[in-house]
């Protein structure tokens, strides 16, 4: 259970409180309590607790809050004070092709190491939302003089499908199906985060067997997402054999998932109260056999990759992210861990009976560090799957979801991309009146222009893929 502290803050004092707490901003959103004025709610990770700050209105000038404030401005019309760049985030004109350079005193330029490019010959490449290759829709306005990137603006929310609204309006027992489809490659993490919140609204206990199955599925999902990033990076480096080898390893995982739960992306397995599926002895034998062989082939292929200079040369020192920036912007997941920040939702907001494990970390903060963190996590996930299989005890896999007794609850899970959060507010015993979800990519997209600071255009795809972002999750 997450330890909560609740504090009401005076109008305009939110920024000061955030600064004083010194914690990591997890979420900032506006909610309208029944028959009352809208209020801002900030969730901050401070010490070993989550502090909930409630303020009547606006005002937090804090890098990690910028995107949240723009979102609130778009959706609720609440104007935050002192925001450096209050452009539309969610409801933007989709046809924009120009980018306005940040002013000289813009906070986003405070850390810049490179000289600013300016003058004739500097132009903007509007890249997206329809991009070359098979990619999700997002737009990047890259300002360049030809090779050096002067500034890169990211524009998201081309894919907003209204998931938060749907979660509240559909019957409660079907809402998890919506959560699974917010970010289709993190279905398990979204289903878990939603389920954790729904379970904590009514204090439902999840059976031990269901917890172990959830851990197996969550770690399988982490594996194929980390493989996806590896495949993309090999593709960018024109490493055709490596790309094919890692893609084949990824395909083997999807086939295993299809045989385990009937869906290649593990949908329809996790539900509030436990899991809908059980893993019987035959399926567990298959899992163990496939993973033993898979681990051997993964290690051999990875060993070759780590001795391929043409690959390493492209990643080392590309797209550096300082620890300070990663903290300021509230980065999560492998992106934060590769910049030296020690955080992992599986350990920090313990859930589903995860045993102790080593949280991967790296200090370099470049694209290679992010890959190395993922490689370490693959090894850790393989160990966690073995432990979870060994810990399976006979028993139920599902408990009835108990009627809600609390008004609101936070659910969290660590997806392959990082911390995934669901904030739910109950309407009576069996319905939801408000849902705010925050995928890991929402935080990590915030540093997109930071990591392009003084980089070159030819490294664009290496840097982008090393962040492992999901526009679908960010846009919801």
């Amino acid at each position: 259970m997450i330890r909560f502290e609740d504090r009401a803050v005076e109008a305009g004092a939110l920024a000061g409180e955030l600064g004083q707490l010194g914690g990591r901003l997890m979420m900032l959103f506006a909610t309208i309590p029944a028959g009352a004025q809208p209020e801002l709610c900030a969730l901050v990770r401070a010490g070993d607790a989550v502090v909930r700050l409630r303020a009547p209105v606006q005002g937090a000038t804090y890098p990690a809050a910028h995107w949240f404030e723009r979102e609130i401005h778009d959706l609720f019309g609440i104007t935050p004070e002192g925001h450096p760049r209050l452009e539309p985030l969610v409801h933007h004109p989709p046809e924009q092709r120009e980018v306005e350079l940040p002013a000289e005193d813009d906070v986003r330029l405070a850390h810049r190491g490179a000289e600013r490019l300016a003058g004739p010959g500097v132009f903007v490449i509007p890249y997206g939302p329809v991009r070359s290759g098979v990619f999700e829709s997002a737009q990047f306005l890259v300002q360049t003089g030809g090779e050096d990137v002067a500034y890169c603006a990211q524009r998201l929310f081309f894919k907003r499908r209204g998931a938060e609204r749907r979660i509240c309006e559909v019957p409660l027992e079907l809402a998890v199906l919506v959560a699974e489809r917010v970010s289709g490659t993190s279905s398990v993490a979204h289903a878990l985060a939603f389920s954790h919140a729904a379970e904590s609204l009514g204090e439902t206990e999840v059976p031990a067997r269901a917890q172990a199955i959830r851990r197996i599925l969550a770690e399988l999902e982490r594996l194929y997402n980390h493989l996806e990033v590896t495949v993309r990076e090999c593709e960018d480096a024109s490493l055709a054999v490596g790309q094919a080898q890692f893609a084949a390893l990824k395909e083997r995982l999807h086939r295993l998932c299809g045989a385990l739960v009937g869906n290649r992306y593990l949908r329809g397995a996790v539900v509030p109260g436990g899991t809908r599926i059980d893993l019987d002895a035959a399926v567990l034998d298959l899992l163990t056999a496939v993973m033993t062989e898979w681990e051997r082939d993964w290690e051999r292929t990875l060993a070759v990759l780590l001795r391929t200079d043409s690959f390493l040369d492209r990643l080392v020192s590309a797209g550096p992210l300082s620890e300070e920036d990663a903290r300021d912007f509230g980065c999560v997941g492998p992106v934060a861990r590769a910049s030296g920040i020690d955080l992992d939702t599986r350990r920090d907001l313990a859930y589903d009976g995860y045993p102790a494990f080593d949280v991967a970390r790296h200090g370099d903060g470049d694209a290679m560090a992010r890959m190395e963190v993922r490689f370490q996590e693959v090894a850790a996930s393989l160990g966690l799957i073995r432990k979870a299989v060994a810990s399976l005890t006979p028993g139920a896999t599902r408990a009835e979801l108990r009627p809600f007794t609390r008004q609101s609850a936070l659910g969290a899970a660590e997806s392959a991309r990082g911390e995934t959060l669901y904030w739910l507010e109950a309407d009576g015993e069996r319905a939801l009146r408000f849902c705010k979800l925050r995928a890991a990519s929402f935080m990590n997209f915030g540093v997109f222009n930071r990591v392009f600071d003084s980089q070159v255009l030819t490294d664009f795809s290496f840097i982008e893929h090393s962040l492992g972002l999901s526009p679908a999750g960010c846009d919801a």
Binding site: G162, A244, A248, E251
Partner: protein, 270 residues
């Protein structure tokens, strides 16, 4: 580089022989629901309809169930909700169809549809331009999987192309969100004729679980769709089947048939 060469040549052949040989999914795979059109218990029908989030299951005033395979996400909750065995789970296989209504079971038009080899403007190689109109991101990975050694779409003359000017096929994923409608239309208009539009994934076929105002509710609300590939997400084999269908090299899956497909699921489970 020699190490990669050794890694590459020391492995056995992985590539599927599909479409020359069949490659059905594993037993227990949940591609879509199957409906027994003879089931008429009104209470059971109501339960099944209530358990269906994307409204793939509907019933008329006589409580006759109708199943729209283009909306079904294969969650299987309807199968759990009924006790009279009127519904089953289909592991699926070749699911694509050239007509939206052909994917509806229990519709009056079902009888006059025969699985036929349909002609089209293309015969062999296809160049494909993909556009994401608001998908969940998994369909993109399944499309990318078509390039892995298991499926290797290029052996069938299927190629992804960067420019819509070079494309024969527009492969669209997602239910078409409001901001993506314009870019999607412009990509279509940039393509030379003849051109074929393929909707990949249940949300692209019908909107599925997503509703207005954020989404338009399926690609065919915006563009004329030639091939529908349902699936949440569609498997790589289902995608290959749909693309072969677009080039006139495969048969239409037509509406899921209770008798033939239920027999196949039982055979697969045994």
């Amino acid at each position: 580089m020699i190490r990669w060469f050794v890694r590459g040549v020391t492995q056995r052949r992985l590539t599927t022989r599909y479409p020359r040989a069949e490659e059905p999914p594993p037993a227990g795979f949940r591609a879509r629901a199957l409906l027994d059109p003879s089931a008429t218990n009104p209470r059971q029908a109501s339960r099944a309809v209530q358990a269906c989030l994307p409204e793939a299951l509907t019933h008329d005033h006589q409580h006759r169930l109708q199943l729209d395979a283009a909306r079904c996400i294969g969650c299987g909750l309807c199968v759990e909700a009924v006790t009279d065995g009127a519904l089953a789970i289909d592991p699926g296989y070749e699911l694509a169809s050239r007509g939206r209504r052909r994917l509806v079971v229990g519709d009056v038009q079902e009888a006059d549809i025969a699985a036929e080899l349909l002609g089209g403007p293309f015969r062999r190689s296809l160049h494909i331009r993909h556009v994401d109109a608001g998908s969940d991101g998994a369909v993109e990975q399944e499309i990318a999987a078509l390039l892995n050694p298991y499926y290797d779409m290029q052996r069938l003359g299927l190629f992804l192309t960067a420019s819509p000017r070079h494309a024969d096929v527009l492969l669209v994923t997602g239910p078409v969100t409001e901001p993506m409608e314009g870019p999607l239309r412009r990509t279509y208009e940039a393509m030379p004729e003849p051109r074929v539009v393929v909707a990949a994934g249940t949300d692209a076929c019908s909107g599925s679980i997503w509703t207005e105002p954020e989404v338009r509710g399926g690609v065919d609300r915006v563009l004329p769709v030639d091939v529908y590939i349902p699936g949440d997400p569609p498997t790589p084999i289902a995608l290959l089947h749909g693309l072969l269908l677009a080039s006139g090299r495969a048969r239409d899956a037509s509406a899921p048939s209770w008798h033939a497909d239920a027999a196949r699921s039982r055979a697969g489970a045994a």
